[in-house]
């Protein structure tokens, strides 16, 4: 997944990659910094190195492969991993014996033994710190047996074991004897949530999900039954749709989840198996034998990384993460220096990618005045005319490590493809998407005069564009390209039946080759971009997105359906860190209102929508007088927000003593706590149940926030929180610890045995079975706060008009969960805030800034290329029956009364193909999906027999 990103960064004209270097000093101010770097010697010139690997092949020295976490060896001349960018080797001088062999074999003359440490300077306007983190080193804690027993691994090591490019080539085996394990235990919170010996009080946020993922993948890789057990305190599957994955692992794939902290692991010397000792929930001492133990190590900022930040004058918190504010999530204490990713706080990939865009937004705002001044221009390779030539097809079959090659017989597929019509060249690659393979493809296109290319690998959704660019770079039209998806649609889903998967791969390649023969070069129309933006939703997300764009000097129309800006945040008081939300909101509204580039439209309702990326047109009815206005804009940011679930459970609405957390927040603000002696809270109301499987992410911290306010106001008040898993991820774990220290009582209940609430004149009686005492308890209380989940805003009519995709829960779907978390599937449309999924206010702000940044990538261009996939009319044979005019859902085909022909505007054509399918004379063809280009696939498929 990261490979296309690496390639994209590597080939981006405006990204200058400086590897093997460290920041020494930063001088200057926002907009004009001078950064002094120390460039460590690599001993191989990355410009000359072709990445051929001859040096490593001849190197006689064996060194520990740190990339594979020391589980295998590499040479002293090495490259970290095959997809590395830049693809250049280096020499590890700690192990190099200076024999000179590599210099002798290097044809490119790239070896430079005498290279020394250098110093260099760059001038920049903004700085983003994204040094990432390292896994916790568990060898300091002897009771885990790590470093002592071969089969106790960290999750990072296990990740390498599962990897196709890892030490065991993706075969599930344990280090001691390379046997396939039958039983694996994961131990959670190693180096996280532990103030006892390791000192990391925070939750690392990602370990629950990666442990579940590792268990699921291990089960897939196993040849027989594999028993996976995850020992945990709480399962924290709080991300979008993560709960569904957890449920699948638990209920369908049989991953066992045990609530226990392990106190000791011992090895059984005869077998290398591991005995895991723990106390179960009934208080009984238990032990179980596993063939392998994986320690789910937390994320930690290394001391040397922290030192770099401190040198720059960037403040860090006690856990060495960057100190940021709840309303300024990616800003460091030094103006002009921003941060993102785990250095900001523990987080997963989608949040890191989102934050990265947010940091880019703020960094870009400081540079807005000088945009485009220091950027190179694109060199366009002239296209060769292949129209007269008969097809010469090259087929590149991908192994995708062992993702494909481990299941499908790739050599057989390659040989088979060579027998297909018009195929003149075939090849197979370890990773077809890697930078070196792109160069190889270009070489082969030229060498064999290929005029069509087929790549049999993964999904065109993620990789088609990249391969098309490769074609373009050597003068071949990008539409002379076809993919056969032999991974996602084949090896991944037929992994249990390799012979069938190989046959299907051949079928898919045959279909792709047949289609490739029919492909024709297509021209893409270039259009101008309207530099205005439309932001839908005037809450914290929408306002931050609008400000983000305005700071980049773009005009914004901000639509709000209510009469006032603010959205749900108007009902919120403080963040868990103590940030004053109302003060923030007041300032934010004022900033938006006074910004000359932002037009706020309140009481707004979208009535009509048309256009395409770069040139949208939206009709809006606004205000008490139903004023009509039409907005022309180049991009859209959707920030429609969410609501608190209105409970039907636990006597809510029937007894006034039952309130939601938001109502409790109001009460604490308005009345205080003086009349209270006991407060009970129930978690997961309207979340993690059969109607809404998802976790609402924010309710655990919300409950703890309110509990802390109560306890701090009056420690004598008893506060009970009835929960299923406490999900105070990241640094919020400290507040959970604080709440426990202050005497808040946490009682875990099972989903199948939820609490019951009775209303009596003396008070509410809440009955629950205590998980430690294993006895039913009755708590009498005068106030019951329900942690009601988050429900999506009602966007039915908006989506009816604007055609946005929502998931079954009503939240908008992003283009790619990890790679494009703030993009919507439609070009030029972006997404932020709780309209995407439940999230905290700080996360909402980061995502809004990210959406503004992504929108800026669009608005900063003066023109964009349109898709060439549009409908074309053969006016000579058209009988002007007007069926297309009547059928087009967008009203694109028109009858030109003057010329007496049907015209289809390629800028407004959406390329759906409805007209092509309905034309009774078949005089309309959709480019790239012409009838022949589909029929040949049907024919090729069925030619093989089914």
């Amino acid at each position: 997944m990261i490979s296309p990103k690496l390639v994209e960064v590597g080939r981006h004209l405006n990204i200058n990659i400086i590897t093997n270097s460290e920041i020494k000093t930063v001088e200057g101010e926002p907009g004009n910094f001078t950064v002094t770097l120390s460039n460590h010697p690599r001993y191989i010139d990355p410009v000359k190195c072709t990445g051929c690997g001859e040096c490593a092949k001849h190197c006689p020295v064996t060194a520990v492969n740190r990339y594979n976490k020391g589980l295998d060896d590499r040479r002293a001349t090495f490259i970290e991993y095959p997809q590395a960018v830049p693809l250049a080797f280096g020499i590890d001088t700690d192990t190099c014996i200076g024999c000179g062999l590599c210099e002798n074999v290097c044809i490119a003359r790239a070896i430079q033994y005498d290279e020394t440490e250098r110093e260099s300077r760059v001038t920049v306007g903004s700085i983003i710190l994204a040094p990432g983190s390292m896994g916790y080193d568990p060898s300091k804690l002897d009771f885990w047996g790590y470093g002592k027993y071969a089969n106790v691994l960290t999750s990072e090591e296990f990740e390498r074991i599962l990897s196709a490019s890892g030490p065991y080539f993706g075969h599930l085996s344990r280090p001691l004897d390379r046997e396939e394990p039958k039983k694996i235990a994961w131990i959670q919170c190693v180096g996280s949530r532990d103030t006892n010996r390791c000192g990391n009080g925070y939750c690392s946020s990602v370990c629950c999900m990666y442990a579940i993922k590792e268990a699921m993948i291990a089960k897939e890789h196993a040849h027989g039954e594999l028993d996976c057990a995850i020992f945990n305190m709480d399962i924290r599957s709080f991300g979008k749709d993560y709960e569904k994955y957890y449920l699948r692992a638990k209920d369908k794939d049989g991953v066992r989840f045990l609530k226990a902290r392990i106190h000791t692991i011992t090895e059984i010397p005869e077998t290398g198996d591991l005995q895991v000792w723990y106390i179960d929930e009934t208080g009984q001492r238990q032990d179980e034998i596993f063939s392998m133990v994986v320690l789910s190590v937390g994320l930690q900022i290394p001391e040397n990384v922290a030192d770099v930040a401190r040198n720059l004058g960037v403040e860090l918190n006690k856990y060495r993460f960057v100190e940021t504010g709840p309303f300024t999530p990616v800003e460091t204490s030094r103006p002009g220096i921003f941060t993102c990713g785990v250095f900001q706080g523990p987080k997963d990939i989608p949040s890191s990618v989102t934050e990265a865009s947010a940091a880019a937004c703020l960094a870009g705002a400081d540079l807005a005045v000088s945009r485009g001044m220091d950027t190179p221009t694109v060199q366009v390779t002239e296209q060769q005319d292949v129209s007269g030539e008969s097809p010469r097809i090259g087929v590149f079959v991908c192994n995708c490590g062992i993702n494909i090659g481990g299941i499908v017989d790739v050599p057989a597929v390659q040989n088979y493809s060579a027998t297909l019509p018009n195929v003149v060249y075939t090849d197979q690659n370890l990773f077809t998407c890697s930078q070196d393979t792109q160069d190889k493809i270009k070489e082969k296109i030229i060498e064999h005069k290929l005029n069509r290319v087929v790549v049999a690998s993964c999904s065109p959704k993620t990789h088609e564009q990249m391969f098309m660019e490769t074609l373009e770079a050597c003068g071949l039209n990008r539409y002379l390209f076809e993919m056969a998806n032999i991974r996602n649609q084949n090896s991944w889903i037929h992994s249990k039946t390799p012979a069938i998967a190989t046959q299907k791969a051949k079928d898919l390649v045959r279909m792709a080759v047949a289609r490739a023969s029919t492909l024709r070069p297509l021209a893409e129309k270039v259009i101008s971009v309207n530099k205005q933006a439309l932001v839908i939703g005037g809450g914290v997300a929408g306002m931050n997105a609008a400000l983000g764009l305005a700071k980049q000097a773009f005009r914004v129309f901000l639509l709000e359906k209510e009469t006032e800006l603010g959205g749900l945040s108007r009902k919120l008081h403080h963040t868990i860190e103590g940030g004053d939300i109302q003060a923030y909101l007041k300032q934010l509204v004022a900033d938006v209102r006074k910004n000359e580039l932002i037009d706020v439209v309140t009481g707004a309702r979208v009535t009509n929508f048309s256009g395409y990326k770069g040139n949208f047109k939206t009709d809006v009815v606004a205000g008490p007088a139903n004023t009509k206005l039409t907005i022309e804009h180049g991009v859209i940011i959707v920030a429609t927000g969410a609501n608190e679930y209105i409970p039907t459970e636990y006597l809510y609405g029937q007894d006034p003593r039952v309130v939601t957390q938001l109502q409790l927040g109001d009460r604490l603000e308005e009345i205080g706590v003086s009349d209270l002696s006991t407060v009970v809270m129930i978690q997961c109301v309207g979340s993690r149940n059969s109607t809404n499987e998802n976790c609402s992410r924010i309710c655990c911290q919300n409950a703890i926030k309110n509990a802390l306010i109560i306890k701090k106001a009056d420690p004598a008040i008893q506060v009970y929180i009835l929960y299923r898993d406490i999900r105070t991820y990241g640094l919020m774990e400290d507040y959970y610890t604080e709440a426990r220290n202050l005497g808040v009582i946490f009682i875990r209940f099972d989903e199948t045995n939820p609490p019951e609430v009775k209303s009596t004149p003396e008070g509410l009686i809440v009955s629950v079975t205590d998980h430690i005492l294993r006895m039913p308890l009755e708590i009498q209380t005068e106030l019951l706060a329900l942690s009601a989940g988050v429900t999506a805003a009602d966007t039915g009519s908006l989506c009816g008009i604007m055609k946005f995709n929502r998931n079954p829960e009503g939240f908008f779907i992003e283009a790619h969960v990890k790679l494009r978390p703030v993009d919507m599937p439609g070009d030029g449309i972006f997404l932020c805030g709780t309209a995407h999924a439940p999230k905290l206010i700080s996360e909402t702000i980061a995502q809004a800034q990210a959406a503004a940044s992504r929108a800026t990538t669009f608005l900063s261009k003066s023109e964009i290329k349109l898709s060439a996939i549009t409908a074309k009319v053969d006016t000579e044979h058209c009988v002007k029956c007007l069926t297309c005019v009547r059928s087009c859902p967008f009203g694109v085909p028109v009858f030109n009364t003057e010329k007496q022909i049907i015209e289809i505007d390629e800028a407004t054509c959406h390329g759906c193909g409805v007209c092509a399918a309905i034309c009774p004379r078949r005089t309309i063809q959709l480019s790239f999906y012409e009838d022949d280009q589909l029929n040949c696939k049907i024919d090729a498929l069925l030619a093989g027999g089914m």
């Binding site: 897939e220 749709d241 065109p460 998806n485 649609q489 084949n490 991944w492 889903i493 037929h494 992994s495 249990k496 039946t497 069938i500 998967a501 046959q503 299907k504 079928d507 898919l508 279909m511 989506c799 009816g800 055609k803 995709n805 929502r806 998931n807 079954p808 779907i813 599937p825 439609g826 996939i869 059928s887 859902p889 967008f890 959406h910 390329g911 759906c912 193909g913 409805v914 092509a916 399918a917 309905i918 959709l926 999906y929 009838d931 589909l934 029929n935 696939k937 049907i938 024919d939 498929l941 069925l942 030619a943 027999g945 089914m946």
Partner: protein, 114 residues
């Protein structure tokens, strides 16, 4: 998601199910496919407004045509799901496969010309 579904299902990509022509469906049956199904967006949430509704009509039309010539109309079907519903996709693939297995091979297969 790597959800398992039967290998006899092969996918032909179209920009929208509204692009799927009666002729494409008939051609597949004529060439010996045992079954063909069209998978579109949920009704009411077509990315291109109404392509999936047109596809449904065309599928129904093909079903009628097949019945008229003595074949089971049900060899051609329409399914709808959202792009976020991988498990449903796999379930439909299994359902269609089971259904076609119950119907037996396409009788046109022996005459099918590749």
């Amino acid at each position: 998601m790597r959800l398992d579904y039967p290998a006899n299902v092969k996918i032909i990509r179209v920009p929208c199910t509204g692009k799927v022509d009666v002729l494409h469906l008939m051609r597949a049956i004529q060439r010996g496919a045992d079954g063909v199904y069209v998978v579109g967006c949920l009704e009411g949430s077509c990315h291109y407004k109404e392509g999936n509704l047109r596809a449904r009509e065309r599928v129904m039309h093909v079903q009628q045509l097949l019945q008229e010539i003595g074949l089971e109309g049900d060899r051609v079907r329409m399914y709808n799901l959202s792009s976020g519903e991988g498990p449903t996709f796999a379930a439909y693939a299994r359902e269609m496969t089971e259904h076609i297995k119950a119907l037996g091979p396409n009788p046109l297969k022996k005459w099918a010309t590749a």
